[in-house]
Amino acid sequence: MFCEKAVELIRELQRISDGQLPAFNEDGVRQVLQEMEALYEHNQADVNETKSEQRADLLPSIRLRHCCLLRNQRCVGAYLYDRLLRIRALRWEYGSVLPANVRFHMSAEELQWFTCYKKSLASFMRSLGGGGGLDVTQDMRPPKSLYIQVRCVKDHGELEIDDGTLVLLKKNSQHFLPRWKCEHLIRQGILEHVVH
């Protein structure tokens, strides 16, 4: 059946939930392109025969093949485009350096697209505010101006809070700190949130 390979590409993406990127199916894309080449050559030959020998009976099969060509084009386009949208989402999730296991699933051209995307985004952010720049990939969640109770998991030295006070982060000590100050330390495993 024509177009089966193309539809398989689409199914492949549909099976995998939105946020994820399956390995680039180079083989699948190549097979669709080959099928297209064959369909096109066949049609070229039939078109010539229609003209030279008045074979109107060939027209329906020419039309069928042409529809298949369009469908193949549409499916491959959709496959590539949908992958770009997923890769775009990964930039926002992971930052400008993607984890190796994600990169591994991208084709060389996709890596190049990603590099260009990163560059465009960075120069957009740099140009904001009359050249002062603003990193819009930060502040993804509304700020919480609240304090939380944290315990120090390992010695870290002094931490300066916004009002200028210094807090000594010593192993096993407990502190009441602004949440926005500790979030990255919690992620790094230096502090842990004490939940009562």
Partner: protein
């Protein structure tokens, strides 16, 4: 002045259109943020508001740099800065997302815009959108289209990429009363009718019907 936070700095004239106070400016940003968040299509850019808010933030940050350590005012100012910066970033993010999602339509609309109409994109966004379009189209071309039969080597992106659905339903609050807003029927056996939208009232209806009220500021999406 020894304390840089203790006087209201009037040194921001370039950004004060029609005597807008910084508080008005923040209110305007928040309105633009919610409108952009809920509107199915990209709205006209508010580059001036963005620029003025950023100027306010930079100005305040600079003042904070000069404040004595331990000043309890600093942490309060910092909290406010964080709140404003969140709205600003979230607003710009919603716009970027729509610019990417609808890029062929956004660029087309910008190209066919007549001279007097307000620009859909800020200059920065326009540069970004063009790069995004070029990058995406050259990817499709090099991986697939250029290997296809000659008649299939181009793809009309305006047709290929979905356009925003203006028939989406939205929630809105009316800021200036409106009369005789035409509501189109949902089914063939219904008839169209008109509604009056009173100031302060809230409604659920199709975006297309009230889109002009959003751009004029007579209503706010919620």
């Amino acid at each position: 002045m020894s304390n840089p936070l203790s006087d209201n700095d009037p040194n921001q004239e370039e950004c004060q259109e029609d005597d807008m106070t910084p508080a008005d400016l923040i209110a305007k940003l928040e309105e633009a943020w919610l409108n952009e968040k809920f509107s199915p299509e990209l709205l006209a850019n508010q580059a001036e508001v963005v620029e003025c808010v950023m100027e306010q933030l930079t100005h305040m940050e600079a003042n904070l740099q000069r404040v004595k350590k331990g000043d309890p005012k600093a942490s309060i100012h910092r909290m406010e800065i964080d709140r404003i910066r969140f709205v600003l970033c979230s607003y710009l993010r919603s716009r970027l997302q729509k610019i990417e999602k609808f890029y062929p339509h956004v660029l087309e609309k910008e190209k066919s815009r007549s001279k007097g109409e307000p620009a859909l994109l800020s200059p920065e966004e326009f540069a970004f959108a063009k790069e995004y379009a070029a990058n995406t189209e050259s990817h499709l071309k090099s991986v697939a289209l250029s290997h296809m039969p000659p008649i299939l080597q181009t793809l009309d992106m305006l047709k290929a990429v979905p356009a925003p659905c203006l028939d989406s339903f939205v929630f809105l609050r009316v800021k200036e009363s409106q009369e005789n807003i035409l509501v189109e029927p949902e089914t063939d056996d219904q008839r169209e009718y008109v509604v009056d939208l009173e100031e302060g009232s809230q409604h659920l209806m199709r975006y297309r019907t009230i889109a002009p009220l959003i751009s004029s500021g007579a209503a706010q999406l919620i």
